[in-house]
């Protein structure tokens, strides 16, 4: 009988003592955290996609409160979300332009191979061997590192063709842009209707030799654009999305179908998904 009472007292005593010590400690060692951090974190999507440049939504919220970052850097937050965050901080809301990833190459399958690559199935690994196994130095290698890194499952691929971007899912976080060793992917404005599907800086003559679908720099798109939105920069066609109205004239003019209609591509992806 005695032993039961003793054990109850000892166990109860230790429990009580720890409780008291912890309660006192929580008072003494109380750390003041800014309640705004939690409020902002609740508005943020919590996807931890790192599109804002911070490793997690929590660190981004902390940095916003400290004044180290603008509230509009979240690629997932809608305009209302940005407004809410801004009102918590008491600053004026400015929304950033929504972007979407574009892969500027048809890649892999159609580009001729320089050598047989039998190593690790990863673009980053393959690009270490003389820049990859494709003859074109600027081509997509097609192992799909970007597909693996996308937190939203927006990229998909078949075989060794260049991956395709599902614009419905893509949030423009830029993880694929950062992982691509060949710098084939870039972020374009979401409202953009066209983008150039060739990443090559080579002269037209060389592209014609090594790639069936590369841009041969014939300049027909540039000459025929009614808005003057296209230009040649460093032997590469660039689209000025401020000027582009999406009339589709360049798509019609291009002899090699290098200029890609984003809405058409989206239809294709949706057809495949179904």
């Amino acid at each position: 009988m005695n032993i039961i009472i003793i054990s109850v007292f000892i166990l109860g005593g230790i429990g009580l003592l720890s409780a008291v010590v912890l309660a006192i400690a929580s008072r003494i060692f109380f750390v003041q955290t800014d309640p705004r951090i939690e409020e902002i974190e609740n508005i943020l999507p919590g996807a931890n996609c790192a599109g804002c440049g911070f490793p997690s939504c929590h660190t981004y919220a902390e940095t916003i409160v400290e004044g180290g970052a603008e509230p509009n850097r979240c690629v997932l937050c809608a305009a209302e979300g940005v407004e809410k965050i801004s009102s918590i901080l008491g600053v004026e809301a400015t929304s950033a332009e929504k972007k979407v990833a574009a892969i500027h190459c048809y890649g892999g399958k159609t580009a001729a191979k320089a050598f047989e690559y039998g190593g690790l199935a990863s673009c980053r690994a393959a690009s270490l061997y003389n820049g990859g196994d494709t003859l074109c130095t600027y081509s997509c290698l097609g192992f799909g590192d970007c597909v693996g890194v996308c937190p939203f499952g927006a990229l998909s691929r078949s075989g060794r063709e260049a991956p395709q971007v599902d614009r419905e899912r893509c949030t423009g976080c830029g993880n694929c842009v950062r992982v691509c060793p060949k710098e084939v992917i870039s972020l374009i404005p979401r409202k953009g209707k066209v983008f150039v599907g060739c990443n090559s800086y080579e002269k037209g003559k060389i592209v014609r030799k090594i790639c069936e679908v590369g841009c041969i720099k014939c300049n027909r798109c540039i000459k025929n654009c009614p808005e003057d939105a296209l230009s040649m920069k460093d032997e590469r066609v660039c689209v000025d999305y401020q000027k582009c109205t999406g009339c589709g004239k360049c798509i019609e003019e291009c002899p090699r179908n290098v200029i890609i209609d984003t809405s058409h591509q989206q239809e294709e992806i949706e057809a495949v998904n179904q």
Partner: protein
């Protein structure tokens, strides 16, 4: 002195907590994806194991033995370790935010870890004095760190390699753990006691 060296070598290599005694397998598989986080986890374990060993040693010999209630050992130790880890976490949060960022999320994970409880109970079972207890606790943490960092190094390589689909993730990790345990089995019999 000689005994302390034997204790530390035996607990790191011969009786490694993870690979020979199979204690603390959950963090071993859970936090071994990257070397960086596994090192943080290891440091947190070393810290908690040493501290818990000291505390439970005092509890055992100044509370449980005098009142003849050694059968309460397990439950009292769990209680004390959990409270201790909570307390230490609060102190660290206040005193050193840098340390808190490094250990922060790992400390609560170890609160009710079997390896921590295991080291405390083994201290008592082996009749260690206070100094030996501290060395044993520290060594156990060291052995845990060694195992988890080795595992993380291998898993980082494996994540790049071609693994058959049905073996990806945990299955291949268990096989790695199994092979590591087999190789550590080679240390058996180095020291006759402990």
């Amino acid at each position: 002195m000689e005994k302390l060296v034997v204790i530390i070598l035996s607990v790191v290599l011969v009786n490694n907590f993870i690979l020979v005694r199979f204690l603390g397998l959950c963090p071993f598989l859970g936090v071994s994806r990257e070397i960086k986080s596994s090192v943080s986890m290891g440091v947190a374990v070393i810290f908690v194991m040493t501290l818990a060993s000291i505390c439970t040693w005092f509890i055992q010999y100044y509370l449980l033995v005098p009142y003849k209630v050694e059968f309460l050992q397990t439950i009292v130790f769990i209680l004390v370790i959990a409270a201790l880890v909570q307390f230490v976490e609060m102190v660290i949060q206040k005193v050193s935010p840098v340390l808190q960022k490094a250990l922060g999320i790992y400390l609560p994970l170890i609160t009710t870890n079997c390896a921590v409880l295991g080291v405390c109970i083994l201290n008592i079972r082996e009749d260690y004095n206070l100094l030996e207890t501290i060395v044993h606790g520290f060594g156990a943490g060291l052995g845990f760190t060694l195992a988890i960092v080795l595992m993380a190094g291998i898993r980082e390589r494996i994540s790049l390699g071609k693994v058959p689909q049905s073996m990806q993730g945990f299955p291949i990790s268990f096989i790695i753990a199994c092979l590591m345990a087999l190789s550590f089995f080679g240390f058996q019999g180095f020291f006759s006691h402990s």
